[in-house]
Symmetry: C2
Subunit: 333 residues, 2 copies
């Protein structure tokens, strides 16, 4: 949407729209009111105008995240905001929730604000059905789209990704090497990142001569108590497991709670590995062995890539960063 849409809709010339925006008194009150009303209806903001004028940039980056109170995303926002500001850019934050429709709405809103780029923080923004991502690809025709730990093919779309596959492959391999044979995999999200975590775990088991049977893969709300309850009920159903690899520290913290409730000793009888190396991993007792998904490095790389794009540098469309396994007290290796 641009100044032409406004002029067409208001049935006035572009010069008139421009006069209204300039506060030029040479416009009748009635026309001014109509133009302003159309702008409001179209969600047209003066930023668009400012950009259409001599000044080419607002030096503002839109950041979208599903939920800023999520520990991982809270850290991501902190690092992104800091690194953008160091480069002289402001950020406008939108917390979108998890519904596709809402995400699209906020995305359009940011576009209409004429931000210089949009960063989609977290892997929740890429939908499984290609057509549901078309709105992102078409926006990329106008401004760079940066994906933080998500991946989408497309011109002017840049991804920085943690190597989740290698991370869970390594963690599961370590569990097998330490003698574990019955690994339970707990996850919340089926996003790009989530899918890779599961694949890495499956590959490690396969390479270890084992198999991750469907009854050993369980989805669970990202909530400590929910994970604890799920594990208690699995145990009650007779499922036997000697190790848990979880796609987040919240789920792993729930596994520790489960072990306490069931009188199971960690790590003697049960090994637990979390994901993200969040503050939760140091709160549980014993403290969690966890995968450090390097959110600070991911944010730095995302901002660096973006600055490269702005500077006309030839940057890679995809950057992968290796995770670390942080060994604490919930594993015996």
């Amino acid at each position: 949407m641009n100044i032409y849409d406004v002029s067409k809709k208001a049935n006035v010339s572009i010069a008139t729209v421009s006069r209204v925006l300039n506060g030029n008194p040479n416009v009748s009150d009635k026309t001014r009111a109509r133009v302003l009303e159309v702008m409001e209806n179209l969600g047209y903001t003066p930023n668009v105008f400012a950009r259409g004028l001599g000044l080419n940039t607002m030096r503002t980056i839109g950041i979208m995240c599903s939920d800023s109170s999520d520990l991982y995303l809270a850290n991501a926002i902190y690092y992104l905001e800091r690194d953008l500001r160091l480069n002289g850019y402001d950020s406008i934050l939108c917390c979108t929730g998890y519904e596709l429709e809402t995400k699209q709405k906020y995305f359009d809103l940011l576009c209409s604000k004429r931000v210089d780029a949009i960063i989609l923080a977290g892997s929740k923004f890429i939908e499984p059905r290609p057509k549901d991502n078309a709105y992102i690809q078409s926006a990329a025709a106008m401004i760079p789209i940066m994906l933080l730990n998500g991946y989408l093919e497309g011109e002017n779309i840049y991804s920085t990704i943690c190597d989740d596959f290698a991370a869970t492959y390594h963690a599961a391999s370590q569990l097998i090497r330490s003698g574990r044979r019955k690994l339970l995999y707990l996850y919340t999200s089926t996003s790009y990142s989530g899918a890779n975590k599961l694949k890495g775990c499956q590959a490690a088991l396969k390479d270890g001569g084992l198999c991750l049977e469907p009854e050993y893969i369980h989805q669970c709300r990202k909530d400590i108590t929910a994970a604890k309850e799920l594990l208690l009920s699995l145990r009650e159903q007779g499922l036997e497991f000697d190790s848990i690899l979880a796609s987040s520290d919240s789920l792993a913290a729930g596994a520790v709670k489960y072990a306490h409730a069931a009188g199971i000793s960690i790590p003697d009888e049960l090994s637990v590995i979390g994901y993200n190396n969040s503050i939760l991993s140091r709160c549980t007792d014993p403290e969690l062995t966890t995968i450090d998904s390097k959110v600070e490095a991911l944010c730095a790389s995302t901002v660096n890539t973006l600055m490269g794009v702005f500077g006309g540098v030839n940057v890679p469309s995809r950057t992968t960063i290796a995770a670390d396994l942080i060994k604490r007290a919930t594993t015996n290796f």
Copy 2:
């Protein structure tokens, strides 16, 4: 700073500045370059111009927080952003760190962006020396300043505060009533909120016929391990205590770690109470009794008050919200 400053500094007429902003070709390249350079030097952004024109507002609120990765502030940002958006406002986020100079710089930056109001999230923005807060008071002459859990006297400054005094008073009273006599108080910040927490605790002890001696008041970095180490060293020095009231869940989580390390049973030998009812309080074992400081309600009230200010409604300059004591397993009441 406004269009007049630009015209003066660039030694051109306001009409010329306006022409540059409008992309009007009727300006020499040399003049255009000079005006753009002055704008850049002055940190003048087109937003200012847009506002100076027919459209009176960018519908954008500046949010400042010291650190968005802090659990309390991460939640505050989430709720503020959500509630502002529900009212049709965007937010620009600045994470400022803890240095006065940096805070002032970001504050000025937001003002120069012509935001419609600034929300200072968290009590870290108000300095003990009145002259260090003068910059906030003078900005309030132009736009409303909203303090989330901070307090500063002044026209056009609005505070929404958790009743920290009553919260710690109640918590400490409960500890005394449950038979505790040697209360240790752990805190990180000496902010307005921090001071009230300490005062509430002191008042409760006094009213219970006890006294909070200086050796029972300890400052500690907001870090689980730091708190644990501090408590271990206090114990080594022979300090005896049967209960800990902490100004954050991080410190309280450290107290739980300390008890484990020292072989002390919670809550039989030691009671622990945290602050904020954060996710940490459900990670520790046993789970923390903690004060719920009602961040969601504080944010809702802050945004409501701001909308009242915009709407010309007579709103209170100070709103106080009561905290809740959430009883879990680290206390015996």
